[in-house]
């Protein structure tokens, strides 16, 4: 056992990378759920984003174009969910599961010719001055721009939900769609936008796995990250900043346990492998002991005539 082989700066840097896909997916799902939509298709939208982003980045040579394509593909794929749940008023749980299964299959088909290729690399964006601090600099301030965008997006969503009119309307729709409708808010339009936003975020998260974290394309490479993101939204009591904390906690422990495994710590690998799930859930359960609950209309379909 040699713990000195673990480099703290490298550890922090890689935990931020590991956390980002979860963060994107979770923050997107949080918006959808705040609007009262339970979309279990996060995993499917992520992997569609992963393959679309990978393909476009390889073909165009531009990783940023890849990310843009991933967001668009995720949103387009979530349009299926919109049609099923908002227009055809199908059950949200079943539709979401269908989306995940369909996405996994479709992405495997689309990605066949991209197996084994290396994607173009996204340059790191060194934040001036801060990135030159020894130790902390390379760990925190020398990442790619998409990672910073994820963190910034979380704060924007946090303040938007809390302070903006649009955020209030979104919460109102998720809380009581009948009342929101009676006050003249377009429940369906707001929900569709929230679902599309969730899809775009999940797509970004997926592309972050295939373009930066791994980086390559393999079938089924999201490996349950979408489900973790879904659970994270619940355990973080629908609060963006807790979602950020949860994502980093999960990413951190994942990376740490991999380092432990590499260093040959005398804990069975199985325990190490389950530790990110256990610890993240434990911490968030303790945090969510307050009274704040789910959006009251979560998972309920709305039809104006009733």
């Amino acid at each position: 056992m040699d713990l000195s082989a673990i480099n703290p700066a490298l550890l922090i840097a890689s935990l931020m990378v590991a956390a980002t896909p979860i963060l994107f997916a979770a923050i997107g799902e949080l918006i959808a759920e705040k609007a009262g939509v339970l979309n279990l298709g996060v995993e499917g939208m992520m992997i569609i984003g992963a393959v679309a982003g990978f393909a476009v980045a390889v073909e165009s040579g531009s990783p940023l174009l890849g990310f843009a394509a991933a967001a668009a593909a995720g949103a387009a794929f979530s349009m299926l969910f919109v049609i099923m749940t908002q227009l055809a008023l199908a059950n949200q749980v079943a539709s979401g599961l269908a989306l995940t299964l369909f996405g996994l299959g479709l992405s495997a088909l689309l990605g066949q010719s991209y197996v084994g290729i290396k994607p173009p690399k996204l340059d790191t964006f060194d934040i001036p001055i801060l990135s030159e601090i020894p130790g902390i600099g390379p760990a925190l301030f020398s990442h790619d721009i998409v990672l910073y965008f994820g963190i910034a997006l979380t704060f924007v969503i946090w303040s938007g939900l809390k302070y903006s009119r649009a955020g209030l309307v979104l919460r109102a729709v998720g809380e009581n769609h009948d009342a929101a409708h009676a006050l003249g808010y377009k429940v369906m339009r707001i929900r569709i936008l929230a679902i599309l936003f969730g899809g775009a975020c999940a797509g970004l998260g997926g592309a972050y796995i295939s373009l930066i974290r791994v980086p390559q394309w393999t079938q089924g490479m999201t490996a349950g990250i979408g489900w973790i993101a879904l659970a994270l939204v619940v355990f973080s009591s629908w609060k963006p900043l807790r979602t950020l904390l949860g994502a980093y906690l999960f990413g951190g422990i994942t990376v740490l346990q991999l380092n432990f495994q590499a260093a040959g710590v005398a804990i069975p690998v199985e325990y190490l492998a389950m530790s990110p799930y256990l610890i993240t859930i434990l911490v968030l359960v303790i945090l969510s002991a307050d009274k704040s609950g789910a959006p009251a209309a979560l998972g309920r379909n709305f039809h104006a005539s009733r």
Partner: protein, 511 residues
Amino acid sequence: MSTTALLNLDGLTKAYPGVVANDNVTLSIGAGEIHALLGENGAGKSTLVKMIYGLVQPDTGTMTLRGAAYHPNEPREARKNGVAMVFQHFSLFDALNVSENIALGMENPPTMRDLASKIKSVSQTYGLPLDPYRTVGTLSAGERQRVEIIRCLLQDPKLLIMDEPTSVLTPQEVEILFQTLRKLKSEGTSILYISHKLEEIRSLCDHATILRLGKNVGECIPAQTSARDMAELMVGTALTPPERTQRDLGPTLLQTFDLSTPAPSAFGTALKSINISVKRGEILGIGGVAGNGQDELLSVLCGETTVAAEKISFAAIPVGAMCPNARRELGLLTAPEERLGHAAAPDMSLTENALLTGAIREGLENRGFLKWTAAKSFAEKIITAFDVRTPGPDSSARSLSGGNLQKFVIGREVLQRPKALVVNQPTWGVDAAAAAAIRQSLLDLATQGAAIICISQDLDELMEISDSFSALNEGRLSTPQPVHDLTVETIGLMMGGAATDAALQNQEATV
């Protein structure tokens, strides 16, 4: 009309598949007038105001607001034109606080801090105290309505639409509301007031339009028209007040002995040594302001709250420790006040709801298996006997209007041939004709020898049907008095709780 018209409706028609909700309705609301819109459940009142508020678009017909054509496509447009609405089922968001709820109903809300101080000042001006930072889920029905009213007032409306505003309020809250509405009227705001409580309309409204089956069937000045005439216009036929046949009271059937229970929650009321005794064929009316132990009393008689067995006796059997089903089996039935969620499961069909309380006495189950055919025909029997307007027994309870569901809930118990029936607010939110039918069914039941306890906040109702009257005040029940020699003063004293038995005796001696 002496005042100039604020809003004119001309020939408004709105048809839904299978039903014409409004048929060529024409009416006019003057400036600074309180205009009542009267009608039975399903007469088309709600559809009409939804058209004024822009939630529904008329098929044909025009509206003119202050002389200009007015056809709102959405509530936002209506609000911009100075039309505001307080909904029957409040359009509030439980998890949000008062300020946020109010901001959602405004076009250009100020910042939260300004809004909060504005809410405070408006609520003081109109005597509607309200804390802007309370979460709405923790407010009482009256306070929730205040939120809705203040939401409307902050937009300085020219026309305020109120859809059955008093159906969930206590008498004091109604009084406060009326003061607010009169103050608004004196400031020049017109109010369109929907209700079927005729006495309220007579005391509050300047003018009334009566709708029946979607048509405007007449107008009147409420203060100069008797409640009975208005009711007959609403129903379209002469109303027969419930008949009281002379009944012989039998032996005592249902009794409680010094029944006390602790308050079920921080907002509940503790019951304090309640002694009730009801004979066969007797109707005991229990009045009092809401929140003085009505729900707790029903719950303890029903069996939702159990007490020591000997505290309640039914047909000489101690039943205090029995659960509701065991009591039902004996013939002690109850119908609670809250229709959706307590008396009926909102998302279950009427057949299923009929099963829920009827399974035992109507024999709708066979060793744990349900008899669907029998349950369905029981539900159909209730629907026919109580004139419940619904497409059929497969409709969900939630899809029924409040009055119709109330008829179903009461009918379900009455048709189970109870030996004793306890009802709480049996005609809450029910129109005049249906209320009369429900009261008649209670009277018929008593004539057949059932003991009935009717808990209600409608004093007229209690005077109409009960044989004896007592009042709940802070969990204490006053000594029952025969209804025929009660005076308004005595009732007031009983409800206020000032009446110790001695004081009551004195009062009676002097009367």
